[in-house]
């Protein structure tokens, strides 16, 4: 019992503390690659602190959905984060759900964001919601399939079990192709779901081109802080999924302090590496035309499906 509480608290703190750092690191990498000095990697913490102190401005045409959404998004994303192994292979909410719960907890947040985008009645919010609906409906099957491809090799949809077994090198298929395909698919999904280039551009000021940013355009103050933090959390959840499903090495398989220390360091290194990779990708590509995003997500779906099929072929 005490262990469970400790895990919940520890993982919550790590997730909340790490997520602004990921955002800051991506920005820093982009800045350096563009010959800019860039803000400090810790700038997002200061931004959050500033936003929490500011008074939120809420349009009089909004309903309760608008004010409830930031809390729902933040809570559902954090809950999803507690279902994903971070630095200990056992997840704090292990008993409560598996990978399917993660997918739909994230979808719950997306759903409320889309509602909130419509709620304020501005033209941009509506456009953002409609675009997000396209992206979300196409990422979901690709995400589920890519994780199923891995789940099949381990015989479980429980993320703890998957990660634990992989870390102990159990049930590894010797041919890496299903893993690589599932990895590629999940990476594309992560880019799309977290609104990064080439699907969306988090740095733009052009409302007409936005997806995620258009939905949250009306938010300010602590509501915006929660939404920004939740966006960082979502990024952390996806990067943790990728890091720990495909490369769980170093993760603590017991609750021994030394193992957890190594697990934490390994986790931070992996996450930093992935964040830098995203930063590099954002500098290399132009954003896709909106209607080409479906092609990219189609590729992710096919890759995930092939990964699944390869697993069957290799096993028989």
């Amino acid at each position: 019992m005490l262990q469970a509480i400790f895990l919940v608290v520890a993982q919550t703190i790590v997730l909340l503390a790490v997520s602004p750092f990921i955002v800051g690191l991506i920005k820093k990498v982009k800045a350096r690659l563009q010959l800019r000095r860039g803000a400090s990697v810790f700038q997002p913490y200061a931004d959050l602190a500033k936003l929490f102190r500011k008074e939120p401005v809420v349009s009089t045409t909004t309903s309760w959905i608008f004010t409830a959404t930031p809390y729902i998004v933040f809570a559902s994303t954090l809950a999803a984060g507690l279902l994903v192994p971070i630095f200990v292979s056992r997840t704090p909410l292990n008993f409560a759900g598996n990978i399917i719960a993660v997918v739909y907890l994230l979808a719950l947040g997306t759903f409320f964001l889309m509602l909130a985008g419509l709620d304020a009645g501005s033209a941009f919010g509506g456009m953002g919601s409609s675009r997000e609906a396209i992206v979300a409906s196409l990422t979901e099957p690709a995400m589920i399939l890519s994780i199923f491809a891995i789940a099949l090799t381990k015989g479980s949809t429980n993320l703890s079990t998957i990660v634990h077994k992989t870390a102990l090198l159990e049930g590894i298929v010797t041919d890496p192709s299903p893993y690589l395909m599932a990895l590629a698919a999940l990476f594309i999904v992560a880019i799309a779901e977290t609104g990064r280039v080439p699907v969306d551009n988090p740095a733009t000021h052009l409302e007409l081109t936005m997806i995620h940013e258009a939905m949250v355009l009306e938010y300010s103050g602590r509501y915006l802080a929660l939404i920004e933090w939740a966006a960082g959390l979502k990024l952390a959840v996806f990067l943790s999924l990728i890091a720990n499903i495909f490369a769980p090495w170093g993760i603590a398989t017991t609750l021994a302090p030394a193992a957890m220390g190594i697990g934490l360091v390994a986790y931070l290194l992996k996450i930093a590496g992935l964040a830098m990779l995203i930063g590099v990708i954002e500098c290399m590509f132009a954003k896709l035309r909106l209607f080409r995003v479906t092609d990219l997500l189609g590729v992710a779906f096919i890759l995930a499906l092939l990964g699944l099929l390869f697993f069957y072929i290799l096993r028989s």
């Binding site: 409302e207 007409l208 500098c283 590509f285 909106l290």
Partner: protein, 530 residues
């Protein structure tokens, strides 16, 4: 000259009742036309294959204090020869109506609405008589360019609503954008009618910050208005001040020394360089490809710092003056310019190959925002946008000014009319401008850089001037008034003619591509809204 004569004779043969004013002959052909004949003659000039007249400028003058008339003037550029033909007519006494030529010539649509707003003259038969510059909250009867309208009058407000054109139907909705934007952008309103993402209609509603520039000119003396011209559109300091100076110099019969003319070309190219570099980067940035934006931003900054070192102004303010330029450059400074441009060109060429090999970027730019040659011609589009749509026009070659008669300008044109073509025109012109600067640095003669003005013009004398600024043709008409003052100064920034064309370029594109298309046009709100 013989060729010119034949155009004039053909026009006079077709319309026996028009009178040629020989005073202007040599520079352009000037005809006095009865107002009822205007639609027929302009139609003839515009459509006759041997003339191919492009509407370049329409302006009105309130001459009531002098001779109780309003003057209306229509300037055409004949495409085969780049010769100017000017048609003038008068509205005498209480006559406030003139026939609209817009039904035949699209390019006249904003000019005529502008004349209606500024002078209260009504273009009869104009298909769209909504207010253009005078927004609906301006009080009735406020026409600022009438001579009896005090320049410092503070306008009251009245209730009024602008009526947009609506498209109705299931699933069609309107997206209002602006006039307040998220970035550092001037004020402009864009009203989209969309069915999902594809744009069915775009209507511009600009002119939010009318400064009364043309009215302010009328408060200035001919000799003191250069700083005002420099500020018509801040990014086109040299282009506007040069066009103004040239007009005034023809009024004063001043001949600018050759060295002064070379320096004017040099500074005009420097202005073109820093703006084009900024635009190439900004186009890439609007596709979220930020790397070229960072590098172009650096190169633009290098040129602006060079401007600062040479002239004390990053935007080249105070460079042009009546009679020449106010800044002379030493041989050492010329060598510094060439060396700096050599460094920048090396970097820029490398960047160009990076841009050209990025498939994800090219995919965004190609086929986006196509402005066909036909549409561009119909709206008399000028400058970079026109050249990207296949209109082979560049005043530096066609009507040489400054030192361009002694320089070899290679005009860049592309046929496709998409965002990529507009970017490639700019990239090629960057190389061409650098080459021209080098040519200037080799050919520039020694001597004075300016002459002092002598006796001024008589009241009522006027002159036209045109400059190929970095956006395109800048045209000025300056008319002298009593005691050295300006009676009327008509300013036309290329943005005024190119803005409406965007409404056609976006059709069939999706709404998230609009900012990219808009950026590739790169028009000025201030230059448009005088």
């Amino acid at each position: 000259m013989a060729e010119t004569r034949s155009y004039d004779e053909a026009l006079k043969a077709a319309f026996p009742s028009i009178v040629q004013d020989d005073a202007a002959l040599g520079e352009f052909s000037h005809f006095l036309v009865p107002k009822d004949l205007l639609p027929a003659i302009t139609h003839y000039l515009h459509t006759q294959p041997s003339l191919h007249g492009r509407l370049t400028l329409v302006w009105a003058v309130d001459d009531r204090p002098v001779c109780d008339t309003y003057g209306l003037h229509y300037l055409f550029t004949l495409e085969p020869s780049s010769r100017w033909v000017l048609l003038s007519t008068e509205l005498a006494g209480d006559d406030r109506l003139f026939p609209s030529i817009t039904p035949h010539i699209h390019a006249a649509k904003w000019y005529e609405r502008e004349i209606r707003d500024m002078f209260g003259l009504i273009p009869q038969g104009h298909p769209d008589l909504r207010r253009l510059i005078r927004h609906e909250h301006w009080p009735k009867g406020a026409h600022p360019l009438k001579k009896d309208f005090p320049w410092d009058r503070v306008l009251g407000r009245q209730q009024g609503e602008h009526h947009f054109r609506h498209i109705e139907g299931e699933g069609v909705f309107e997206v209002p954008v602006g006039p307040i934007h998220a970035g550092i952008i001037e004020s402009g309103h864009f009203r989209f009618s969309v069915a999902g993402e594809p744009i069915m209609q775009l209507e511009l509603h600009h002119f939010w910050k009318h400064r009364g520039v043309e009215k302010l000119f009328e408060q200035q003396k001919l000799t003191t208005a250069v700083p005002l011209a420099e500020r018509v559109s801040g990014d086109t300091t040299v282009g506007h001040s040069l066009a103004y100076c040239q007009a005034v110099e023809s009024l004063f019969h001043l001949k600018v020394p050759r060295r002064g003319r070379y320096l004017r070309s040099l500074f005009l190219e420097l202005e073109r360089l820093h703006n084009h570099l900024g635009d190439v980067g900004a186009i890439c940035n609007d596709t979220a490809y930020a790397l070229p934006h960072a590098h172009c931003g650096r190169m633009k900054e290098q040129i602006m710092q060079l401007n600062d070192r040479l002239t004390g102004s990053r935007f080249l303010r105070g460079v042009n003056r009546m009679g020449g330029v106010a800044v002379d450059l030493t041989a050492g400074q010329l060598a510094e310019i060439v060396a700096e441009l050599d460094r920048i060109e090396k970097d820029f060429s490398e960047l160009e190959s990076i841009i050209a090999s990025n498939a994800s970027l090219i995919d965004r730019l190609e086929t986006t925002g196509v402005l066909t040659e036909r549409t561009a011609w119909d709206h008399a589009v000028v400058g970079v946008v026109g050249r990207a749509s296949g209109l082979d026009q560049d005043l530096r070659r066609d009507r040489p000014f400054a030192a361009y008669d002694e320089l070899q300008v290679r005009v860049v044109t592309y046929r496709y009319g998409d965002v990529r073509a507009r970017m490639r025109v700019r990239m090629d012109e960057i190389h061409e401008s650098m080459r021209l600067v080098r040519e200037v640095s080799v050919k520039i003669p020694q001597g004075p850089v300016a002459v002092e003005p002598g006796r001024g013009p008589q009241a009522g004398e006027w002159a036209l001037s045109a400059v190929e600024g970095w956006r395109g043709e800048i045209v000025y008409m300056v008319m002298a008034g009593e005691s050295g003052k300006i009676h009327r100064c008509k300013v036309r920034d290329p943005s005024f003619v190119n803005w409406p064309a965007i409404q056609w370029a976006v059709l069939g594109n999706i709404i998230p591509d609009f900012p990219l298309i808009n950026k590739s046009f790169s028009l000025s709100y201030a230059g448009n809204d005088l």
